[in-house]
């Protein structure tokens, strides 16, 4: 059996009836294969190959909620923990629409950023804001930038009722893997906002082209390539249109970061159809005003409690 990680190769003569278990990070970082050849050469001897059987064990999950937890742990939290530094280096600019929204918030209003990533949207808010982030490595980066942050899950936060004036949740809702969890996340926003408080929620849109035919900055080319993985989710190819609403999106990152196994960087995304976020916000209750707009490959919700 041959193992490979970031240019390191390692061959191992597995004894008959032996079992080899890859655990933890090794499951992602090492690839393994049985090279196709007729003979092996253990300790300088020639040995003809006979039948070899490889069994891969996987656990199937029936329960939707358990499946959602596993998807979001393995394909959202763990991936962001893994790519945190590279991801942060590529996310330094505020999206203009978010900046416009944040700039209008009075300096005595309290802002909570649910899923704050590396804290780029809190840099201007500073003392009158608080971030919540699922990935502890991204939260660490916030801390290093002197941004007030806690590690938490935005569908079940530790925040008190009606504690803040403004909530932003930018590019977070598309990482929730079930309708129920998307609604829970919106309900949490409603619960922590004071009456009259405002929220801005953005997510990726399935549609990467506007009506005028202008392609979003993200999807410049259309050369979709179909590929699937063990989770039976299509793997999205950068700068193409989405082929399904539930997809895995690889994180490319910087050149130095490219050496490790790309499978460790697949993030789960649910990309939205027009009006979908709006109907979820209606289902969440709490909101007296709900507006949805499309902007550059994203749907944006503006909510008022």
């Amino acid at each position: 059996m041959d193992f490979q990680r970031a240019g390191n190769k390692f061959s191992c003569d597995l004894k008959q009836r032996s079992l080899l278990i890859l655990t933890g990070e090794s499951r992602y970082s090492w690839t393994h294969q049985i090279t196709a050849r007729k003979n092996d050469f253990p300790n300088g001897n020639v040995r003809q190959r006979r039948n070899r059987i490889s069994l891969t064990f996987r656990r199937c999950v029936d329960d939707e909620e358990e499946a959602a937890r596993i998807i979001e742990k393995n394909l959202v939290k763990n991936v962001y923990d893994h790519i945190a530094d590279d991801f942060s280096a590529s996310r330094y600019k505020m999206w203009p629409l978010v900046e416009e929204f944040v700039d209008k918030v009075p300096k005595d209003h309290f802002v909570i950023d649910l899923g704050c990533g590396n804290g780029k949207n809190l840099l201007k808010i500073r003392d009158h804001g608080l971030g919540l982030e699922l990935s502890s490595n991204l939260a660490r980066i916030c801390g290093e930038r002197n941004i007030e942050v806690s590690v938490g899950d935005c569908t079940k936060t530790q925040l008190r009722d009606e504690i803040c004036d403004v909530v932003i949740s930018i590019a977070v809702l598309h990482h929730m893997s079930t309708v129920k969890r998307r609604i829970e996340a919106l309900k949490e926003i409603g619960r922590i906002l004071r009456p009259g408080g405002k929220a801005m929620v953005t997510s990726w849109a399935m549609k990467q082209k506007s009506e005028k035919g202008k392609t979003s900055n993200y999807a410049k080319k259309e050369n979709s390539e179909k590929s699937t993985n063990s989770a039976h989710l299509p793997i999205h190819k950068a700068r193409t249109n989405f082929e399904a609403q539930d997809v895995l999106v690889p994180f490319k990152g910087s050149k130095e970061g490219k050496s490790t196994d790309p499978a460790a960087k697949h993030r789960f995304y649910h990309v939205f159809m027009e009006g979908e976020m709006k109907s979820l916000a209606l289902a969440a209750g709490y909101f007296s005003e709900i507006e949805e707009i499309y902007d550059d490959g994203n749907y944006v919700l503006f909510l008022r409690k």
Binding site: D108, F110, E148, S150, V151, K156, Q158, L159
Partner: protein
């Protein structure tokens, strides 16, 4: 973790009724000067639980630095507002634990960041 943050949080463990305030077990505390914004302090006075803020200051070894009674939202005395500003934004727990007042569940605080994630069986 600033005490404003502490004041905004509660225990989110399922099946309990007493959620607030989270008890503080500090290991490292620091004071970092922050820009004073009286309007913000006044606004937060209407939102925070004042007793819990006093209690938190005591836990962090800064007792007796706040006025006994909660000032009103139109408080104009700058010394009073500055004392509250100091408690809300300048006294921070760097290392330690937050503890659920009912279940005793502990949440670690490391490098100033509370980890409030619950396990599957706690939600």
């Amino acid at each position: 973790m600033k005490l404003l943050t502490h004041n905004m949080m509660q225990s989110h463990v399922k099946g309990i009724s007493r959620r607030f305030p989270l008890l503080i077990k500090p290991e490292t505390v620091r004071v970092v000067e922050q820009e004073f914004n009286p309007d913000f302090v006044r606004r937060m006075l209407g939102r925070i639980e004042y007793e819990a803020l006093q209690q938190a200051m005591t836990w962090l070894g800064h007792e007796g630095k706040l006025p006994k009674d909660c000032p009103s939202e139109d408080e104009n005395n700058e010394d009073i507002l500055k004392a509250i500003h100091h408690a809300l934004l300048e006294v921070e727990m760097v290392e330690g634990k937050l503890v659920c007042p009912e279940s005793g569940r502990e949440f670690p605080v490391k490098n100033g960041i509370p980890n409030m994630l619950l396990n599957e069986d706690e939600v």
